[in-house]
């Protein structure tokens, strides 16, 4: 506030009581800085120690061929990066990540919005339904993966249910058919994460003032028009944040895939993260694994930056930018 007042003052205007005011200002500025230092230092130390330094160390390791034992001696420059990008399996993995991210937006988003609108209406058993939709999100990924791994075995629970309702014809080798497995995993991911989107959007819907709907209704807007032109635009910030979280989540997909398929069969469901674990840790290629980790980080980081810059700019204005 104070500095805003200062900058709006014409620079040529005389300063009344300059010395006294300057003294107060300087003292309070020192105090602000001390406060900032005091409040930020612990978090900053943790962030530097556990985020920035490891990223730097990974970048350093990525320039070596190193199996994790002994000193780093075999400097290979950018070879690890070249190897990663020129490998079919890693290219495939990036493709799988992009497919999951795209499907998330195209399928999960409309589904979440629909469910959220439905669950926002007054209907009997609403809180129970909300809980049911949200419950899978509470399960850990490992538990989810094991449950679905067992249910999706040939002749297992899923197949039996489908046959029971007369859909025996759509039964596939869900986890064993390379052309199906990625989409099977997407269904499980959707099952697990749809609740998160719904809860987020429900919270967003609470922020839509009822007066606006009433006004729209008075102006003769139907239910669809109200939803389309009043509710959805106001849900914009929530939707944009959901898309952000969803894409980042899709890019970093690991646990579920690793437990259900190990990225197989024949790498048909590998993701960047499973590739990283498979070729970095399992093969004791820590230099190469670090290179893949750096690639994964850069992709996420660049996406995050661009998304912040272009999609989230208005939503986060004042929170992340223009502190004073």
């Amino acid at each position: 506030m104070m500095s805003a007042a200062i900058t709006t003052r014409p620079p040529t205007a005389p300063v009344p009581h300059a010395p006294a005011a300057g003294g107060t200002r300087r003292r309070s500025r020192v105090r602000t800085r001390l406060e900032l230092a005091f409040l930020l230092t612990p978090a900053l130390l943790l962030f530097v120690g556990f985020v920035l330094v490891p990223i730097g160390v990974a970048a350093y390791y990525s320039l070596y061929s190193w199996n994790g034992f002994g000193p780093l001696t075999d400097f290979v420059g950018l070879d690890n990066y070249v190897d990663a990008f020129s490998g079919d399996v890693f290219q495939g993995a990036i493709g799988h990540n992009l497919i999951i991210a795209t499907l998330s937006i195209v399928v999960q988003l409309p589904l979440s919005i629909g469910l959220a609108l439905l669950l926002n209406r007054k209907l009997r058993g609403r809180s129970v339904l909300r809980m049911v939709v949200f419950a899978p999100y509470v399960l850990s990924e490992a538990v989810t993966a094991v449950i679905w791994l067992l249910m999706l075995q040939p002749g297992g629970f899923v197949d039996e249910i489908l046959r029971g309702v007369g859909l025996g014809g759509v039964v596939k080798l869900w986890l064993a058919d390379p052309s199906v497995v990625l989409y099977t995993l997407f269904v499980v991911i959707t099952w697990k994460y749809i609740g998160f989107g719904v809860i987020l959007l429900l919270a967003g819907l609470q922020g839509v003032p009822p007066e606006l709907r009433e006004a729209a209704a008075l102006d003769g807007a139907g239910a669809w028009q109200t939803t389309r032109h009043v509710v959805l635009p106001l849900l914009g910030p929530t939707i944009r944040i959901w898309v952000f979280l969803s894409v980042i989540g899709s890019l970093q997909l690991f646990d579920l895939v690793w437990i259900m398929t190990l990225g197989g069969p024949a790498d048909a469901s590998s993701t960047m993260a499973t590739y990283l674990f498979d070729h970095g840790f399992k093969r004791y290629e820590f230099g190469f694994g670090s290179a893949v980790a750096v690639i994964l980080f850069v992709i996420c980081f660049v996406f995050a930056l661009f998304y912040q810059r272009f999609a989230l700019r208005r939503d986060t204005a004042g929170a992340l930018t223009g502190v004073r």
Binding site: A37, L149, L173, G264, P265, A266, D267, K282
Partner: protein, 426 residues
Amino acid sequence: MRSRKPLALFAAAAMVLAGCSSGGASDASTEGPVTLTWWHNRTTEPMKSKWQQIADDFHKTHPNTSFTIEPLQNEQFQTKVPLALQGNTPPDLFQQWGGGALADQLKSGKIADITQASSGWIGPLAKNADGWKVGGKQYGAPYLMHAVGFWYRKDVFAGAGITTPPTTLDELNAAVAKLKTAGVTPIAIGGKDRWPDAFYWAYFAVRQCSVDTLKKAVEKTELTDPCFLKAGENLKSFLDTKPFQDGFVGTPAQQGAGSSAGLVANGKAAMELQGDWNPDVMQALTEDKEIGSKIGWFPFPSVPGGQGDPSVMVGGGDGFSCTTRAATACAEFLGHLVGDDVQKILAETNSGLPVTPAGVAALKSEPHKVIAANMTKASHVQLYFDTAFPTKVGQALNDAIANFFAGQGGPDTIVKSVSEAAAGNK
């Protein structure tokens, strides 16, 4: 003031971090009391308490040696051991599967050479100890061996009219055909986990290649001998008979009734090529308390036309390596583990094959006695290739084999995966 605060915090953080790791930092060379940090992979009963008991008993007779025991899941060793060996406080004694992974770990300079320290007790282990040798030096020792062979349901075999377990590949193929006619899945395999696929390739390789060729291949990390290619072709012909369950590339080996072990345990499949540990896995996946008496074991059949000795077994073992800090006390403890008393205790758990003749003699379970007898008469025990080769090569080989099972690549791709991984290609 302002500049000191971060420093003070840093110092505090450093002290906290140091505090975390000060436990094993004391330098106990050879004499005096020592506490061994022990990482083993037996996270479940009965072995978990057996190890505790064995450690407690050892402490009673060797008051200078105490233990801090940390049981870890198998998978955790892959990540924790390299990190620990890179750090300053590795465990003093940890699970070691030997072979190429051990050779990799030697580069840390922290694995103790126990050739001298073990000379008094390593004799009875004979060839069992070879997997824990690198360049003629002993860097650890096994406490239990493992071997792979066919576990089968006697009742299902009988139901399909198979009277004796197959001893040749032709007989195996005939059995597969009979079981199919009887409407049973002939063989279950946990293809999702990849390593069960590798058992098949390994057995076709040891049946096709002479023992000398096998030893040379591991020594030089290469599969250039044409017999390895031929092994892949034989495997291909075998896969073409479609002996496995539907969707086997997505089947887990050990999780749930739908896993390969579960399919056999519940009578839905007749056989599984698996390690000696399989009865325990099966028992956990079925309500049939009699499963133990319903299953039998036979070795991988002979394959016509190969140079391989049909007595050769594929297997491995569970062992421990010592790190340098307390190597003397650690090696003494390893000697205790392969001593008759402990080996007899281990024999009764059926969790592997004892490493010494005295231990083998104490085995109670019929199938395990058969397996142990086959191990004893084997002219060579081929360490699993993924373990025998350096880790990056072994894993690349496993991946190539798993891809082959999933219909990608051929016998040549498998052979090439080894040379390419050894050359550093990703």
